[in-house]
């Protein structure tokens, strides 16, 4: 059977997004061009910009790094890409995946920066799980990883991180927000670029329209070097049902994943009625809707003391709505537990020490 696109080569695969039988060169072409279109459509990069690629060693971020390098060369974006990796300290999982990222550094000829939880927080994920058990550990994962990426980019003087979130992740998030009633993020969760007043760094998802299955095929045919084990700490059970639902829907109608994203992009929240006495709520909502600065500034303002202290964590200086940022709240809980367990031991200074470490990091930037 001939490829339906070029009609001159043998069809080698059925494209998951459309079920079209196509050849490998055409597959690479459509896959890469769609990502390029996503980038161009929103002026994602500017020439001379330094951009960090959030690299986990997994398939998504490996394909992201490969495609960014390819497109950067093909279309002369003029972007300087750097690999940024987080070492959560998950034995067996992260050890191996970090090795992959180190090989990627050589393969793609990019700089690599590794930031570790132990160094940042005084806790590795393994230690956290040992302390709190297997429940809720993705809450820690999420909060810590987010800050860690910010701190990593701040260290590199970078204001823009691209992550490997794919179309399946986006569709799942849209459904999850509806099912959990997460209205705060309902209308923004499909945005290509996100930034908020509690993160100094602009984040974007160039693979937001790329199907997970196509990412797997691309990595496979291109023989990319990636690490294929999932995070060993499993996500919330509820997310599992949304994931299964999407897989079932995809079997019924292959376009479902982008159809859901299309719907998500059409979500508009009703304006909050301005009530007297609830002024603070309205103000907060306005701050969150602040547009992301598109390029231009290149030094993150995260830990710039000239900003004043109103919007910062009093413990670590990180941007935060509350007096103490989420990571520090979680850390306090963890450290309290550790202090209790080692009550007769020598490290009653655990909590203080961790905060010291954070302060030092903040100052050294």
């Amino acid at each position: 059977m001939l490829c339906v696109l070029c009609e001159c080569r043998k069809a080698m695969l059925k494209r998951p997004k459309t079920l079209q039988p196509i050849c490998k060169p055409c597959f690479y072409n459509v896959f890469e061009t769609e990502i390029h279109n996503t980038i161009v459509e929103s002026n994602l990069f500017f020439p001379g910009e330094r951009v960090a690629i959030g690299a986990s060693g997994g398939k998504d971020s490996t394909v992201l790094a490969h495609v960014m390098k390819t497109l950067n060369e093909r279309y002369n974006y003029g972007v300087d890409f750097v690999l940024l990796s987080i070492d959560e300290g998950i034995h067996g999982y992260r050890d191996d995946s970090l090795e992959t990222v180190k090989r990627n550094k050589v393969q793609y000829d990019m700089d690599l920066e590794v930031v570790s939880y132990s160094e940042l927080y005084g806790w590795s994920m393994d230690q956290i799980v040992a302390q709190i058990g297997n429940k809720n550990n993705c809450t820690y994962c999420g909060v810590f990883r987010r800050q860690a990426l910010d701190r990593g980019s701040a260290k590199l003087g970078i204001a823009h991180i691209v992550t490997g979130h794919n179309a399946d992740d986006m569709a799942e998030t849209v459904l999850m927000n509806l099912l959990r009633g997460d209205t705060a993020r309902l209308d923004r969760c499909t945005e290509l670029v996100t930034g908020s007043d509690d993160s100094p760094v602009k984040r974007s998802k160039p693979l937001k329209y790329a199907y997970e299955k196509e990412i797997v095929l691309y990595a496979h045919y291109k023989k990319l070097d990636y690490f294929s084990t999932e995070c060993t700490y499993s996500p919330e059970a509820f997310r599992g049902t949304a994931r299964t639902l999407i897989k079932n829907l995809e079997a019924i109608r292959p376009s479902t994943i982008i159809d859901i994203i299309h719907s998500g992009e059409a979500f508009v929240l009703k304006k909050k009625k301005e009530k007297k006495g609830k002024g603070s709520v309205v103000v907060k909502a306005k701050v969150e809707e602040k547009p992301v600065p598109s390029g231009g500034c290149s030094v993150p303002l995260a830990f710039d003391s000239s900003l004043g202290l109103s919007n910062r964590c009093t413990k670590c200086g990180y941007l935060s709505h509350n007096a103490v940022c989420k990571a520090c709240v979680l850390l306090e809980g963890l450290n309290a537990g550790r202090a209790k367990m080692q009550i007769e031991g020598d490290s009653a200074d655990g909590a203080a020490k961790n905060i010291k470490t954070l302060e030092k990091l903040a100052l050294s930037i």
Partner: protein, 424 residues
């Protein structure tokens, strides 16, 4: 009897456990009916002066499917009328019109619609029943045939003064999901048309029988079908006709009742037997389900572990606004009539679903590619329809007709209207 097994309101025997409480039959009926009464609080008997009753000032149109949920709503509204008649000597606060869109030609029921309606008429004497065949959507309408290209662009390939038929329409739709999508578009259209007609003689409110679980399913289904922009119109209540796309008030009196509570209500009221199912049952194989059927299954399953999930989804959907409210220059979709920004959907789709081939690499590939090009350009010159422009379609409808090769749909407008609209 222990306190745990008696009704929390009257200590009578428990008939249903729900919302972490026990209810006896009468208390449960009251509990559910109160929700409906509140939604229809404008339906009270009006007096010119004490003792002098005015005629009803409002018409309630209840779309019925013969399913459990719309049957329950019909019973509640009817019970309200019975009570008003008893309290105020045959006075009524509203007129009650039940409208059934007969889709049995597409999806046969276990009983003949006429037979079901005559049974309903006996049980609900204060209500009027109207049965509208699905084919009414095709009456007096010319038809328009759409084809789609590989790159998802559709084009009008033919316009005919001859109406198309239900069978003809359905025969060109390849998948269950597309079929169910098109039928529900037509159903809704006919219900709103009927409501507008009734509205000419008495202000009419459409009271949909969707329960909370069904509304949650609808929210997810619309999202999944790329029709997220329709949630505001179809899932939310619009008590004020000004913010309703149909121009009529639309309410959901059962939006706080869960799907598993409905059969209890119906059985306590002795109306369960009046519900009728369709002949065809959902497939056992997930892959062979339609999107709506899959969503139904999903909520029925997840509801047992997360009982509040449906209300969460409905509450979340209620926070969504009409995404087109502030937009200008929108024109109605050729199929579902929802307002669309011309070309926006298509541009979005083609940007992220590229159909450009990679260039030929070898001489042999070059040859083959040239040959294919030649054949294609010959085809094109022989095809006069190619010159007809692209119709105005919303994203959801583009996705639906992509499941077909060619699609013939009733077009309300005349051939001349279509030519005027599409000729450049």
């Amino acid at each position: 009897m222990s306190a745990e097994s008696t009704c929390r309101r009257c200590d009578g025997p428990t008939a249903i456990k729900t919302r972490q409480a026990n209810f006896c039959q009468p208390c449960f009926i009251t509990f559910i009916q109160q929700k409906q009464r509140k939604a229809m609080e404008g339906c009270k008997v009006l007096f010119a002066r004490p003792g002098c009753v005015l005629p009803p000032a409002i018409n309630i149109l209840v779309p019925i499917s013969f399913g459990q949920s719309s049957l329950a709503l019909l019973d509640m509204a009817h019970a309200q009328l019975e009570e008003q008649a008893k309290t105020y000597e045959n006075a009524a606060g509203f007129t009650l019109n039940a409208v059934f869109i007969d889709c049995s030609e597409a999806d046969p029921l276990e009983k003949e619609p006429n037979q079901i309606i005559s049974e309903l008429e006996k049980r609900f004497a204060h209500a009027k029943f109207t049965c509208i065949p699905l084919s009414k959507a095709f009456e007096g309408a010319s038809s328009v045939t759409l084809k789609h290209n590989r790159d998802y662009t559709s084009f009008v390939s033919g316009i005919s003064e001859e109406p198309t038929s239900v069978q003809q329409l359905l025969s060109c739709i390849g998948t269950k999901s597309a079929r169910e999508d098109i039928i529900s578009v037509l159903q809704r259209h006919l219900i709103i048309e009927e409501a507008k007609k009734q509205n000419e003689s008495l202000p009419t409110t459409v009271a949909w029988g969707h329960n909370a679980t069904r509304l949650a399913e609808l929210t997810l289904s619309l999202t999944i079908k790329g029709r997220g922009n329709r949630i505001h119109a179809q899932v939310l209540e619009h008590k004020n006709p000004k913010d309703s796309i149909s121009g009529l008030p639309e309410i959901h009196p059962l939006n706080d009742v869960l799907s598993y509570e409905i059969p209890f209500y119906n059985s306590f009221r002795n109306v369960s037997d009046l519900a009728v199912d369709t002949v065809s049952k959902p497939s056992q194989v997930t892959k062979n389900l339609s999107i709506d059927q899959l969503m139904h299954q999903y909520f029925e399953n997840i509801q047992t572990n997360f009982p509040s999930i449906a209300s969460t989804v409905v509450r979340t959907a209620a926070k969504l606004d009409d995404p087109n409210a502030a937009k200008q220059g929108l024109t109605p979709c050729l199929i579902c009539a929802s307002p669309v920004d011309p070309n926006q959907s298509l541009a979005w789709l083609t940007n992220i679903t590229v159909n450009e081939p990679a260039a030929p690499e070898t001489e042999e590939e070059e040859e083959l590619s040239k040959k294919a090009h030649m054949e294609k350009s010959q085809e094109k010159t022989g095809d006069a329809d190619r010159h007809l422009p692209v119709p105005n379609l919303c994203y959801g409808c583009i996705i639906t007709i992509r499941d077909t090769d060619s699609f013939t749909f009733p077009k309300r407008a005349s051939k001349q209207d279509i030519l005027d609209e599409f000729t450049l």
